[in-house]
């Protein structure tokens, strides 16, 4: 095995680095060790400000960004920053709803349940009685015998996994929407009374919603979403963000841009490069990667954090496999080549090559049809960047490599 031939390389260090470049959002100890304020700080600051400035009003904020731009990590940081002032209820939509069949009411009920659960360790019982009362008539139908916190668990499981149960619940709650709202608002009020902290709900992963469901929840039922008397941060899919309906919906929104390695005028941004170097070097020893190789990998990530992490992971593995003591330019190029190959295999040249080239030239999407834009953005062939008030688009560097090589 290759591993045995490479005693000269620092195998353990590479293995650890490989594991450090985990593509999942940061959490636990990794969050403490690897979070880089310079990378995420700006986005975090903007969200915190929006919430703070809202004062007493029950702000509903939509956070939008590309897949893998670091939203989840950023929201965790927001929660951490505000936890002294707010009673934070942070959860992932994927833990509470079924993405294949979701209605606004599921989300509202789940939010209410998560708010209740957040008081699990601080005497939840008196919060539960209105909840249990609300479900009184439907409990038998759902065969729910559990009480207390276990009821929340059991019900949540049913909402997430059982179509029949979901239908029964919706049917029942449709006539009790007022009560549901009142209960949710009241629970938040009660928590404020008890903890002297205002409730702030943060719902992650709603950006994974299919366009139809997203439209149903965010546009058709906007009233339901706005009504609860509590501050809520929703994540929101990019697809619907580009739809005209979004303009009329009058949400406060916050776009999380990939890191701008270049500005609108295509000039290099050394500070951004430095920040991403810092991010990488928190997870791998500087001795294990050549600077040139690191720069190559960062530049080809297009500022998308998850791509960068993936590149690094791949590079660590290759070093172990090839027995090279350091990640050098050859490895970096091989990593990029593999990703470019993937883009080449997967990009729909027939339908979208012209559009991609147009964007590469102009960095604008004015002439691009909506369906094309949705395709390009959804699959990360094109990225939207923001810097203060400026917005521009660019083709992902790996695809760019393919397009340029064809010229």
């Amino acid at each position: 095995m290759a591993q045995n031939q490479t005693t000269s390389i620092n195998f353990e260090a590479f293995k650890q680095a490989y594991r450090n470049f985990d593509i999942r959002p940061l959490s636990g100890q990794q969050f403490k060790d690897f979070y880089v304020e310079e990378v995420a700080g700006e986005g975090v600051g903007q969200i915190v400000n929006t919430i703070e400035l809202a004062g007493d009003s029950y702000e509903k904020l939509l956070v939008i960004g590309h897949r893998g731009c670091g939203k989840s990590t950023l929201l965790r940081k927001v929660a951490q920053k505000l936890e002294n002032k707010y009673h934070i209820v942070l959860f992932s939509a994927k833990d509470v709803i079924d993405f294949e069949d979701v209605k606004t009411i599921d989300l509202l009920l789940s939010t209410y349940m998560q708010v209740l659960l957040s008081m699990k360790d601080e005497g939840i019982d008196h919060f539960l009685s209105p909840f249990e009362k609300m479900l009184d008539t439907v409990r038998q139908r759902l065969e729910l015998k559990e009480v207390g916190v276990r009821l929340l668990g059991a019900l949540s499981f049913k909402i997430r996994t059982e179509k029949e149960s979901r239908s029964a619940l919706r049917e029942n709650l449709q006539t009790q929407l007022e009560i549901l709202h009142k209960n949710l608002s009241r629970a938040c009020g009660d928590i404020y009374q008890q903890t002297e902290k205002e409730v702030l709900v943060i719902i992650d992963d709603l950006d994974k919603l299919k366009p139809d469901f997203a439209a149903e929840i965010f546009f058709d039922n906007i009233n339901l979403l706005m009504m609860p008397e509590v501050k809520i941060v929703y994540t929101h899919p990019l697809d619907t963000y580009y739809s005209p309906a979004f303009l009329y919906a009058e949400y406060t929104d916050q776009f999380i841009s990939p890191i701008n390695l270049r500005n609108k005028a295509d000039e290099e941004q050394p500070v951004s490069l430095e920040n991403l170097q810092r991010l990488v070097l928190k997870r791998i020893d500087q001795e294990l990667i050549e600077e040139e190789a690191l720069t190559t990998l960062i530049e080809h990530s297009g500022g998308l954090l998850r791509d960068l992490v993936k590149f690094m992971r791949s590079a660590c593995k290759k070093s172990i496999d090839m027995g090279t003591p350091i990640i050098n330019q050859t490895i970096a190029e091989e990593v990029i080549k593999e990703h470019a190959n993937e883009y080449e295999r997967l990009f729909d040249f027939l339908n979208y090559e012209t559009d991609a080239r147009e964007i590469m030239e102009t960095r604008k999407v004015k002439k691009i049809e909506k369906t094309a834009l949705t395709y390009l953005v959804r699959y990360l062939f094109v990225l939207e960047y923001r810097q203060q008030d400026t917005t521009w688009f660019d083709v992902h560097p790996c695809l760019k490599k393919v397009l340029l090589s064809e010229d």
Binding site: M1, A2, Q3, K15, Y18, R19, I23, R24, R67, G68, K94, D98, F99, E100, F157, T161, E162, K163, E164, K208, R306, K310, R313, S314, K317, K318, I320, D321, E342, R345, L346, R378, Y379, L380
Partner: protein, 808 residues
């Protein structure tokens, strides 16, 4: 001929995949591209050889497994600690619709896969990669890496992993010895040698085993041997549970059939290897990997690695006999019991097989045969609930489709023929057998008890002392059986009968209190015997009881000094006896009643029934005394609060002024009982037999007497306010001066009853029969509802104004 570059690319992909699987943590998702159908298998075989510390499973997806992520997450629980790598195959073979469905499920189910204790490699063609990317971008985005095996490998991939062989000679040696012990039972017993299988010690099955029968769900009778043979031969199900109450012969049958299979295996090694497992006393959470490795080491002196075991298990090499599940330490915790049960189901390896094999393909999985006391399974419905409570409808549906089911059979009690056969085998004398059968037939209850082999054995052994007794129940049978040893005044014996009895009580109590489910006790944990219990010439020994117990047939002492009852029911019997003795003599409880199990409680109530003439002043608070005979019992001053008296025979008992508030007396026989001035408020008397009972001045407020026959019962002056008497039959009953305010008397037969001076304010008498009812000076209010056309004034009834109700 392949060009070198082809091979190099393939090799590079292979090398990197291998490295990544090797260094990565679980939960990683990979894609592997291929074009040639032989490629996946070749790569898997090479990985098997190159990564021996990992276990590679191919999973063949088909349309029954489309909800793959959720489904996999719900159903796969790892067995053992090794790293598992699952290779998901057959995707390109799926129909367009199925594929679309699968992609949806992957897109939204990736979290289930990500957190699993395994890595997944999805084998796809380049065309499918495009569809996956479009249909499940979110899933695709989370894939760690895509490996390209499209180019053909040079023909160097013919690796086959060669699992090390099990040292079969050791297993053969063990099985031969077990068979020898079985065949030379008496010899082993007399020599004091330990039996390799503990339950073997209980009885000489070679001599005395009587064919057992069972009933299936439809009540049809089958020979157990035949049924088991069928179970082993068929591929339809792999887990069979035999249920039966204690002493019905579950373990005996298991052992009997195990020996049969051991012989078969010795003759032909292509048969499954039978393994007898006892879970008796296993503490806490069962870890099947550790358990199996330990069993192999202890039983066969084989140090096995789990993947070798798994390899053999996946080929269906074993049949497990699991005994003593109901004697595991964890049984008090339902959750843990369920977990342990599920862990046992893993012995079939079906949880792996039903994922890895294509649906519908017959599988040769291991077989597991479990025996268990019935009430741990309660009812079929509850069991299903237990096993699948945390699964979704989706999974439940699938589970029913697959063979992943647990069949259940109920052991049939002995019939007359089997009883006869058993007795004859023991007595070896036709005439004497007939005489014993005669006694069994003519003694009340004995016939019923004799349907359980364990009890039948006791009956046969104690028959002289049972002769002529009017009534025998299980407790008196145990008493007679254990009494033979306890009461025997052997000149060699150094302890008095009382001493021996206390020793048994002490053992039972300490075993219970020790907890942990290990129902054995080392002599060092025993107290010194009380001097009164010793005969004068007692020789001091380290273990006082050692010699004493050599002659005891129901207690076993192993060579290291651990005591254990040969059957758990003896411990339960002594616990009950000790408990009853202490409430009777010391007016205390040696242990919290709630700590006793069902069987102990059962023996205890039989003791109460056996001693019914001497229950005065006893604290019976909260005991379950259901369905026992207390007819004519003497209970003066006894505490009966909270006692469960459902269907209990209390006929003729003096219960004057008793506090029976809220007690469940439904269907109890209270005929001719004296309940005058007793407090029966809120008690459940539904369907109780109260004929000729004396209930004068009894407090029956709020009781439930719906539909009860109360003919000619004396209820004079009784307080029945708020009681439910609807549809009750009160024909000719004396209710004079009774408080019937707010009573439900709808459709009640009150003809000929005496209601003079009774208080009917607020009562509802609609539809009741008042023909010939004495109603003179009976009080009523405007709220009182009468049958149609009934005129209270015509019956000399007195209307009290509403406002005066309270004050009057």
């Amino acid at each position: 001929m392949q060009t070198p570059s082809f091979s190099t690319n393939f090799e590079k992909s292979y090398s990197e995949l291998k490295t990544e699987l090797w260094i990565g943590e679980t939960g990683a998702l990979f894609l592997a591209l291929y074009q040639d159908e032989r490629t996946p298998e070749r790569v898997i075989n090479r990985l098997k050889a190159d990564l021996p510390e990992h276990f590679e499973f191919p999973i063949y997806l088909d349309e029954y497994k489309l909800q793959f992520p959720l489904f996999f997450h719900m159903s796969f629980e790892p067995t053992g600690q090794q790293s598992n790598i699952f290779h998901v195959m057959n995707l390109p073979q799926l129909s367009e619709d199925s594929l679309r469905y699968l992609l949806h499920s992957l897109q939204h189910g990736r979290d289930y896969l990500e957190t699993g204790a395994y890595s997944l490699v999805f084998w796809i063609t380049p065309q499918l990669e495009k569809e996956l990317f479009r249909g499940a971008p979110d899933f695709h985005h989370w894939v760690s890496h895509t490996y390209d095996f499209v180019e053909l490998a040079a023909d160097n991939a013919n690796f086959q992993s060669s699992p090390s062989l099990l040292p079969l000679n050791k297993i053969n040696g063990y099985l031969e010895k077990v068979i020898w012990q079985y065949e030379h039972w008496q010899e082993v017993k007399e020599s004091g040698e330990d039996f390799l299988i503990e339950v073997m010690e209980r009885a000489n099955l070679r001599e005395y085993y009587v064919t057992s029968y069972c009933k299936d769900k439809k009540g049809k009778k089958h020979s157990l041997d035949e049924l088991l043979q069928e179970f082993l031969a068929k591929d339809a199900s792999h887990f069979l549970t035999l249920l039966g109450d204690f002493g019905t012969g579950k373990s005996s049958f298991s052992l009997h059939h195990y020996i049969h299979l051991a012989r078969q295996y010795s003759e032909d090694h292509s048969n499954r290897i039978p393994i007898f497992i006892s879970l008796k006393g296993y503490p806490g959470r069962l870890n099947i990997e550790q358990f199996i490795l330990q069993e192999f080491y202890q039983k066969f002196d084989i140090q096995l690695s789990f993947d070798i075991f798994q390899n053999l298990a996946l080929q269906g090499k074993f049949v497990f006999f699991v005994d003593g599940f109901d004697e595991m330490a964890s049984l008090s915790e339902q959750e843990l019991t369920l977990q342990n049960f599920k862990e046992l189901t893993k012995l079939t390896f079906e949880n792996v097989l039903f994922m890895t094999d294509p649906s519908g393909k017959t599988k040769k999985a291991n077989k597991v045969f479990l025996t268990c006391r019935t009430h741990y399974f309660l009812s079929a419905a509850q069991e299903t609930e237990l096993l699948r409570a945390d699964y979704t409808i989706l999974y439940r549906n699938y589970a029913t489709k697959s063979n992943y089911q647990i069949a259940r059979i109920h052991l049939q009690e002995f019939n007359d023929q089997q009883i006869k056969q058993y007795v004859l085998k023991h007595i070896q004398n036709q005439q004497e057998t007939e005489s014993i059968l005669g006694i069994i037939k003519n003694t009340y209850n004995l016939q019923e008890l004799s349907t359980r082999p364990l009890l039948l054995e006791m009956i046969v052994k104690t028959i002289p002392s049972l002769k002529g007794k009017g009534s025998i129940n299980a407790a008196s049978l145990y008493q007679a059986y254990t009494g033979m040893w306890i009461e025997r005044d052997d000149w060699r014996s150094q302890m008095t009968a009382e001493g021996k009895r206390h020793f048994m009580w002490q053992l039972a109590l300490k075993m219970l209190n020790k907890g942990g489910g290990d129902f054995s006790l080392h002599y060092s944990e025993l107290d010194k015997p009380n001097t009164e219990h010793l005969k004068k010439n007692f020789a001091k020994e380290e273990d006082y009881y050692k010699y004493e117990t050599t002659t005891c047939s129901f207690l076993h002492r192993d060579s290291e000094g651990n005591y254990k009852f040969v059957h758990k029911s003896f411990m339960e019997y002594f616990l009950a006896e000790c408990f009853f003795d202490s409430i009777k003599k010391k007016k205390t409880r040696v242990v919290d009643y709630e700590k006793l199990n069902e069987e102990t409680k059962f023996f205890l109530k039989l003791f109460v029934s056996l001693n019914k003439t001497g229950l005065d002043g006893l604290d019976l608070n909260s005991l379950s005394l259901t369905k026992i005979d207390l007819n004519g019992a003497s209970l003066r001053g006894a505490n009966l609060s909270g006692v469960d008296l459902r269907e209990t025979n209390l006929g003729g008992v003096d219960l004057r002024q008793f506090y029976l508030r809220g007690v469940d007396l439904s269907e109890a026989d209270l005929s001719e009982a004296d309940l005058s001035e007793a407090d029966l408020s809120e008690a459940d008397l539904h369907k109780a037999d109260l004929r000729k009972a004396d209930l004068r001045k009894a407090n029956l407020s709020g009781t439930y007497l719906n539909g009860t026959y109360l003919w000619k019962v004396n209820l004079h002056g009784a307080n029945l306010s708020r009681a439910n008497l609807s549809r009750a039959d009160l024909w000719g009953t004396d209710l004079g001066k009774a408080n019937l305010s707010d009573v439900d008397l709808r459709k009640t037969n009150l003809s000929g009853a005496n209601l003079s001076e009774a208080d009917l304010r607020g009562a509802n008498l609609r539809g009741s029969d008042l023909f010939g009812t004495v109603l003179s000076n009976t009080l009523y209010s405007k709220k009182t509802q009468f049958p149609d056309r009934f005129k209270p004034a015509a019956h000399n009834m007195i209307l009290l104004p509403e406002e005066n109700q309270e004050s009057t």
